[in-house]
Subunit: 333 residues, 2 copies
């Protein structure tokens, strides 16, 4: 079934207010969840909401906690997220990275002791809406083996990059360091389908496209084999060093994933580049890649964010697709 965006947002806001969110913060947090569904990232919107509430009940997420500044020098800041709601903290951090970029050309806000930011791409879109180029990343609990190892000791540490277009159709990459998330693997198991490309290893150490096998071995494949393994470690180290917060190794010592570390870097290109230049540059590059001979005639060559924009228009027009059981569960909260 589909429901209007505003209905979804208001329902989530109602529940959040029952869990000690002020009306203003509840509205903001609910909007970020609802916009995640609006943009088609259904794994981290409504479907993730019940778990978010559980984390509040377990005191992993502190509804009223706001981030506090711990260090500032020019364009570089460190914050303590105080275990506040991850999406509100991340939103505030990117807002401040934009403000620093306006003042110093470039700004970085590192946040320790924050929480799962839900959909990382949100903060890329946010910076691009402000006309900025941005990158941001988070660490996670250990959920991926390092290259050469079999048991999880790295996070899949989502990484986001964004460049702005004046028509709002930004180019935004939102990628985890594992080829597939465990959520994605579950969907293939439930659908009884093979993965399109190898996603991990079987017990004998061979690459496999069988999602159930990877769930059992916990040997998710890093993107690009040894390369994604290395990239994951560097993102984790940077997040830990810049924020002074927990690394993936530290998070692995906790009962669950909370109190993570994140970094938000923003560059204000509007100071030296008019939007027409940036628009033309991006249009040219997209057109150039789309002139590559397609693998098959029905195969579109998409740029990162293209599907998000298309889904957004569709969901605004037709309403947000929700799982009826999940929706009823939230309505009963």
């Amino acid at each position: 079934m589909r429901i209007p965006l505003l209905t979804l947002q208001e329902e989530l806001q109602r529940v959040l207010e029952k869990f000690d969110f002020t009306p203003e913060r509840a509205a903001h947090c609910a909007r970020l969840f609802a916009e995640t569904d609006r943009d088609g990232v259904y794994s981290h919107g409504l479907n993730r909401f019940a778990r978010f509430i559980q984390y509040i009940q377990k005191a992993y997420v502190v509804p009223g906690a706001e981030p506090v500044l711990e260090f500032n020098q020019g364009g570089l800041e460190r914050w303590n997220g105080q275990q506040g709601p991850g999406n509100l903290n991340a939103r505030a951090a990117m807002d401040q990275a934009v403000a620093l970029a306006r003042q110093f050309g470039i700004g970085s806000v590192a946040v320790r002791n924050t929480n799962h930011w839900m959909r990382g791409g949100s903060y890329g879109w946010q910076a691009a809406d402000a006309g900025c180029v941005a990158l941001c990343f988070t660490n996670t609990l250990p959920n991926m083996p390092p290259w050469g190892g079999k048991s999880p000791a790295l996070g899949n540490n989502p990484f986001v990059m964004a460049v702005p277009r004046s028509n709002g159709q930004h180019v935004v990459l939102d990628m985890a360091m594992s080829q597939y998330s465990y959520g994605k693997l579950r969907k293939y198991v439930e659908a009884g389908q093979d993965l399109p490309v190898p996603g991990g290893y079987d017990a004998a150490g061979n690459l496999t496209r069988n999602a159930a096998t990877i769930e059992e071995t916990e040997r998710a494949l890093p993107v690009g084999f040894w390369k994604g393994s290395g990239l994951s470690m560097l993102l984790d180290l940077m997040a830990g060093i810049l924020s002074g917060g927990r690394t993936t190794a530290d998070i692995g010592q906790l009962a669950d994933e909370y109190g993570v570390s994140q970094v938000f870097i923003c560059l204000d290109v509007s100071r030296f580049q008019d939007a027409a230049f940036t628009d033309a540059l991006i249009d040219q590059t997209i057109a150039f890649t789309q002139k590559s001979t397609p693998v098959s005639p029905e195969n579109a060559i998409l740029y990162p964010g293209e599907n998000v924009w298309r889904t957004r228009q569709e969901n605004i027009r037709l309403g947000i697709p929700v799982d009826e059981a999940v929706w009823e569960q939230v309505r009963a909260m």
Copy 2:
């Protein structure tokens, strides 16, 4: 055969001085080439030198050209590399990114119209030697198909991340966006060996470990399939937008790869973190990953940069391994 580091450096310097480098710039450029071999990245040191000289002869690389500042606001700068030697330009750009980071906490120097930086990792080590966290990236000519396409329309756009350790054993990732470079593929062809993991596609569109096949199809695999394809595009767009320079699409219009765009971002962590904290954090994370159950008993779990450091110590002690024919060719220049 092995030769002393200084012998290699002096010989390269001698040749560069014949090609209109001042003694000072020749020494600097030669040192960067020699240190590349010292650190075991043999594809971009002595073995690449003859091609570098050819690019000077073709006027792609202008020996005396120095980068000029085109825009500055706080920690954000744009330079014109004026087609100077790529390694000297990159070195100067990262030096300035470090200087900006000292002043503003974070600094970014984007350089347009520069040249192949040879070994990207050099600039990560450079920033880490200055006690900084850094990331940098370059675009390239089109050499990789976008996801969904068969013909090259993206660069493999090397990406570097570095974090410092006070003992000099920094963690430095230096990765291109293709699973293997064409240089690496050539080595497997010459050795008659299969690639360890799939590196591209055969003519029928199946993943293959046969390097010769990939040379023919020109369908190199992006790291992480669609993910590396997206990451490559974002790095190219950022480099083009921040520098105002050529994108991969633009470089593809030239007779060869020159006048590329690069970005150097540096964060000065020494302001808020003493080295002991950073050292302990990095040590802990490395130890944590190395506790992962090894795939096989003889399999080491390495951190990015570990082999570089080990090779460096060995090559300083024993001398730099060089291909005798290549060495004689340079000596005859």
